[in-house]
């Protein structure tokens, strides 16, 4: 580390240039982090999908219902551990902009199929006793400042007279075990729902979610379910939760392609800019490099100096990642109803640093090699 002084001195000779190059790195890394976070948010459903869960929907249309009576038949299939059902409620809390997903759940079986969404036992027991009870995800509780015991009105849009408020008592909060789990859902009870819906909609659920003993059995069980209900008035379509989620994500269009394209454009540009800056800076210092060589520093040492300078800039540019770390939670809250929670993972940070170092290296290597090979005599003549 005896050359620090030399390297630092060289870096600081043109402060504006140093600041701007670090700035370029910082901006590129911030963008990289932001794009990764958005890409991850879009694909979130697929990440948390259970490997041992299957989803059963109506084959004709996802918005069509399936009879509740199918449940017992599904339970009898060997290999099925537990079955629960959900309905999409789609209500409005005060304003459409306050969107969060509301599901009608079956309290008896919910926890067996979604063990990773944890509710403290005492809250769950209260929920089991309260017909108008509701369990809310931690994120939504925080968003609206609700507390356990609050009575919340949700206006119905799909069931009964549109605009009527259905009121629920918040009996508990659920937390996901994994930071990626969705904590925005609002659950209320099937019996409360069943009582209020019009006659022709009674006994109909939106979709089944089942848990299988062995994920390898998924294909067999899915086929068994669909065959069982083929040619009935409500034909089913069963697939694993991850396949379902992946299909859902794909409907958003090729976001990944878009993001990868932008990311590539940005990094390529960054490489050009920093490469050019390094080249100019080396060209300016030709006489000095020549003198360094003349006094005895080896060619390799000179290459080392130039590479080190560039890498130091790259590391300092990682401040962009720090900025992203601070900005992402703010952005996430600002876009609460539009996108799932934005999370920045350690993988993103590490890839960012690695990419920065790679660009730092790549941009300095050509000028560095040029400086390494420079003949002292020629260089001194160019003063």
């Amino acid at each position: 580390m005896k050359f620090n002084r030399l390297i630092l001195a060289n870096l600081f000779r043109k402060k504006a240039r140093l600041f701007l190059t670090i700035g370029s790195f910082a901006v590129a890394l911030f963008l990289f982090a932001f794009l990764s976070v958005v890409n991850d948010a879009f694909g979130r459903g697929a990440d948390v999908a259970g490997a041992d869960r299957l989803i059963v929907i109506n084959r004709t249309s996802i918005i069509n219902t399936i009879p509740l009576s199918y449940r017992d038949q599904i339970l009898r299939i060997p290999g099925v551990k537990a079955v629960t059902h959900d309905n999409w409620f789609g209500g409005v809390y005060q304003d459409e902009k306050n969107f969060f997903p509301q599901f009608v759940i079956d309290p008896e079986s919910q926890r067996q199929v979604y063990p990773e969404l944890v509710v403290p036992d005492d809250q769950w027991n209260n929920f089991l006793k309260d017909r108008d009870g509701a369990i809310v995800g931690a994120a939504t509780m925080k968003r609206f400042g609700w507390k356990i015991g609050d009575r919340v009105p949700i206006k119905t849009t799909l069931y009964g007279l549109a605009g009527t408020a259905w009121e629920f008592n918040i009996d508990g909060v659920y937390h996901g075990k994994d930071p990626k789990d969705d904590e925005t859902q609002f659950w209320f009870r099937w019996d409360a729902f069943e009582e209020r819906v019009p006659e022709r909609l009674k006994g109909q659920i939106g979709w089944y979610i089942l848990r299988v003993e062995n994920p390898d059995d998924s294909v067999r069980i899915a086929k068994a379910i669909d065959t069982m209900f083929m040619n009935s008035p409500y034909e089913t379509r069963t697939e694993t939760e991850s396949a379902f989620a992946a299909g859902w994500v794909k409907q958003f269009g090729n976001i990944k392609f878009l993001i990868v394209t932008i990311g590539t454009v940005v990094f390529f540009t960054l490489l050009l800019v920093t490469g050019n800056t390094m080249a100019i800076s080396v060209r300016e210092r030709t006489p000095e490099i020549a003198i360094l060589k003349a006094i005895g520093f080896s060619d390799r040492a000179v290459l080392g100096f130039i590479l080190s300078e560039s890498l130091v800039i790259a590391v300092l540019g990682c401040i962009g990642l720090l900025l992203a770390l601070l900005a992402v939670p703010v952005l996430s809250r600002a876009m609460a109803g539009l996108l799932p929670a934005l999370l920045i993972s350690p993988k993103v940070l590490i890839s960012g640093v690695a990419a920065a170092l790679a660009v730092g290296f790549a941009s300095a290597i050509l000028p560095g090699l040029g400086a390494m090979r420079m003949r002292v005599v020629d260089a001194l003549r160019r003063v």
């Binding site: 043109k14 504006a16 240039r17 701007l20 190059t21 700035g23 370029s24 901006v27 590129a28 911030f30 963008l31 932001f34 794009l35 958005v38 004709t60 249309s61 996802i62 918005i63 069509n64 459409e96 969107f99 849009t157 799909l158 007279l161 549109a162 605009g163 022709r200 008035p233 409500y234 034909e235 379509r237 992946a246 299909g247 859902w248 794909k250 409907q251 958003f252 269009g253 090729n254 932008i262 454009v265 940005v266 390529f268 540009t269 960054l270 050009l272 800019v273 490469g275 050019n276 800056t277 080249a279 100019i280 800076s281 300016e284 006489p287 952005l331 876009m335 109803g337 539009l338 003063v383």
Partner: protein
Amino acid sequence: MAAKLLFGIIITLLAILALVLVVVVIGGILAGLLAPVLGSVPISYNFRSIRARWTSTIVAILGIAGTVGVFVAMLSLARGFRATLVASGSAGNALVMRAGSTSEMMGGITLDSVKIAMDQPGVARDASGQPLATQEVVGVIPIPLISTGTDANVEVRGVSSNVLEIRKFVKIVQGRIFHSGLDELVVGKNASKTYQGLTVGNTVNFGGGQWKVVGVFDAGGSAFDSEVWCDGRILNEVLKRPDNIFQSATVHLTSPAAFQQFKDAVTSDPRLNLEVQREVDYYAKQSSTMTRLITVLGGLVAAIMAFGAIFGALNTMYSAVSERGREIATMRALGFSTWSVILSFLFEALLISFVAGVLGCLAVLPLNGWTTNTMNFQTFSNLAFAFKITFDLLVMGVLFALVMGVLGGLLPALRAAMRPVAVSLREL
């Protein structure tokens, strides 16, 4: 109290700063563009120095061009999405839905209600005196995407057979419309490009039946272009909806001005529980969430990239100035004024950024009209739309490039001109 005052001061300062910045940028652009006239440094100097330092110039150009390209692409994506939904519908049509519904997917209205609504004043009639109204059933069905092979929820609309007389902006471009009572489909032009199997003569399987595609329609780039239409009564059976219940009705008004009259008549009738909107207004609202998302994300990305491009441009220009230190000093020693030197540099920066802006725009132009698709949360259905690059967007892109050029070139230009001549001449 103190916090509010402080906040107020900060906002005022920021506003002043923003104003100063705007003035500087506009001034810079004007000055730079008028440099050949105002300044005395010949522009051939700029051209020659660009040629002499072509690598740095290419770098700056690519940096700015890349940013402009992304900026224009993102905005045209949002525009295309919005244009699709805004173009949907005509001012001469009114949409009738169940009161309190926020989208067609929800709610149901009875045939009786529709019949009463159709008889209200303001509804146009056809040659035989029948009211021009179509009662519709809307649903989503899974059809695989051509791009990924996985299913997308495609909007299927069951309409009345006289739908083309009501939606006059829809034209059949291939084949014919379905015959009422038969399992036939007519598909939108974007739908046939995005989902598998939607070509004339092909059969599509859904709802336990085989449907024959008999025609393709062009709905002027609106949301309808992503839809599949068929006979409403058959769809009702397939989707297991109760008979004689529809999701919406669209009436053709005698004139756009008749809207208020029609709306008042329908909403004041005690037998009906309906709400009335202009077709265009309904579709504009359907796009609001998704447009907001795309615009916010796109805007953020473009803003971040702009910062990067400005840094890059600044870097390049500063380096250019430091390399040309002796040239600048020589020019000033020869007698060119400081002002002329500044103008000359500004001109060069603007020239570079103008070329970069045009290049960036040209690079993304092939995207225009390219269809892509996404899911519209509000209607739960897939929507195919096209990138829409308009002339004003291109102009905005080039202006954006010029702004980046000015911001990148002004400070170095000032620096170049202000340095004492003797010091610059002395530099190695």
